[in-house]
């Protein structure tokens, strides 16, 4: 693709931080379990992006790509398991409100 790729680390780092903050805020400010999962996904996207950038800037793209492929596989398994836990939670409590998870306090 013949587009002009910036070589500046700080540009990419800025966007990494922005995505990360977006994901964290989403996870913290929501009451819905599935929304927390979406925030988690955004965070993982930010890290995937940063891995690719690291590979690009240091001319180690094959290594970084191999890692990113593994991370994507792990990410999908985690999302499936987390979705299963949400489902189980819903079947047990009949609600997706995270305020119901205070039952184990002690």
């Amino acid at each position: 693709m013949a587009i002009d790729i910036p070589q500046s680390f700080w540009l990419y780092f800025t966007f990494f931080i922005l995505l990360l903050v977006d994901g964290i805020w989403c996870m913290l400010a929501t009451y819905n379990l599935l929304r927390i999962l979406i925030g988690l996904e955004i965070m993982m996207k930010s890290v995937t992006f940063f891995l690719v950038v690291a590979g690009y800037l240091s001319h180690r793209m094959p290594l970084a790509q191999a890692m990113v492929i593994t991370v994507i596989v792990i990410e999908v398994v985690i999302v499936v398991i987390a979705a299963g836990v949400v489902l189980g939670f819903f079947r047990a409590h009949d609600s997706l409100n995270v305020r119901n998870t205070r039952g184990l306090k002690g």
């Binding site: 988690l40 890290v47 240091s58 290594l63 985690i78 398991i81 987390a82 184990l104 002690g106």
Partner: protein
Amino acid sequence: MSHLLLLVPLAALVLANVVPRSWRPSATWVAFFVCALQTVVVVLPPLGLADWSFLQPLDKAIGFDIALDGLSLLLLVSAGLAGMAALMASNPGLKAPRERFLFANLVLVALIGINGMAMVKDLFSLYVFIEVTAVATFILVTIRHGTAAFEGAWKYVIMSAVATVLMLSGVAFFILIAGGASLEAVKTALAAPDPFAWAAAALFLCGLFVKGGLVPFHGWLADAYMAAPAPASIFMAGIVTKASGVFALIRLSSAVFGDALPARWIFLVVGAVTLVIGAFLSLGQSDMKRMLAYSSVSQIGYIVLALGGSPQLGVVAAALHFFNHAVSKAQLFANAEAIEVSLGTLSMDSMGGLGSRMPVTAGTSAVASLSIAGLPPLAGFWSKLLIVISLWQAGQYGFAVIAILTSLVTLAYFLSLQRRVFFGKTAPQWEGAREARGALLAPALGLAVITVALGLGFPFFLSMILGGGQ
């Protein structure tokens, strides 16, 4: 032989799933056999009783980038023991045959993950195996569909994902700065005074702190341990949390950080804070498993604190306390399971006087409690002594004093547990309580015997370890 440690449990897993349905109950014993085999096979070479080097052509043929060394042996043996205890306890603890079968499968997967963690030479591969073990453990927590199970599992999943993000950011930085994430590359990057390298290392360490349940990331641990069914708690407390978090720290400390000052200070501070807070959180608990969970947090703080001491002795002390804690905590959770099976509850306020009804459980639990609290001549005494000595040698007198004082708090909450559960008058509703069945007593007895034997024979073991090189 290193590759067999990864492939044999996998073969057992595949085998357990392709055999006919009616053979499935034996899956627990197949997994038990694999764990026992691992423990025995790994211990033989240092004792000079066997030489597995004839298996090297197999290793070369497959060619994974793994290496087996003294520190790996420690984790492999601990994992084998904890796996054996958990599998033996799974039959009384889980009623449905389907649950038992899935439990055995998941323990095998987690075992492969832990074996991998013991042998990798690369930060990213370490991360991959940590995730494998973590995913297996998430499922273990929910294997019995209770309402609390999903809550505990959810907290564990989320905190684990946070740890993932931290660890991968660290790896990405290392790719950028050092061109790779192998342990040698990281070591070279840290040796050059580069603040970015230390920032990356700090990110990765924070990820490991979350995985290991160190303060301030300890919130998920108690909930996960409590929500999991008892055999899963034995496995989790006995090895999983420690392997994912603390073992990686021990490995990094000996292979990468060495004597580096920032790393030592991080370990000292985080270890001390975890140690103290975990101990005080244990004091106020009324649920037995919850108290044991916070006690685990505190002991993990001890292990990390040891890493901040003098370089050689600190790692040995941390490794020894790691092993002792794995054995004793697995045993205490086995005791908790015995009580839960007999009584149906783990609320210590309603218990009392169980000592006369459940003598073996009481006896073994006393052994484990005193060992963790650090009383001679049990094994825990030696590891705590080594920790204090390593701190003293490094000139960290303040931290050594903190370690000693918190041992007193540890003794206090364990004595409180013993008093509330086992001593005193038997409460009327527990008149009919009976001692647990053999399948639950055997792991508790076995682990207690190991604790006592290690404690009594420790000087001999120490000369063997320091002489043979670890």
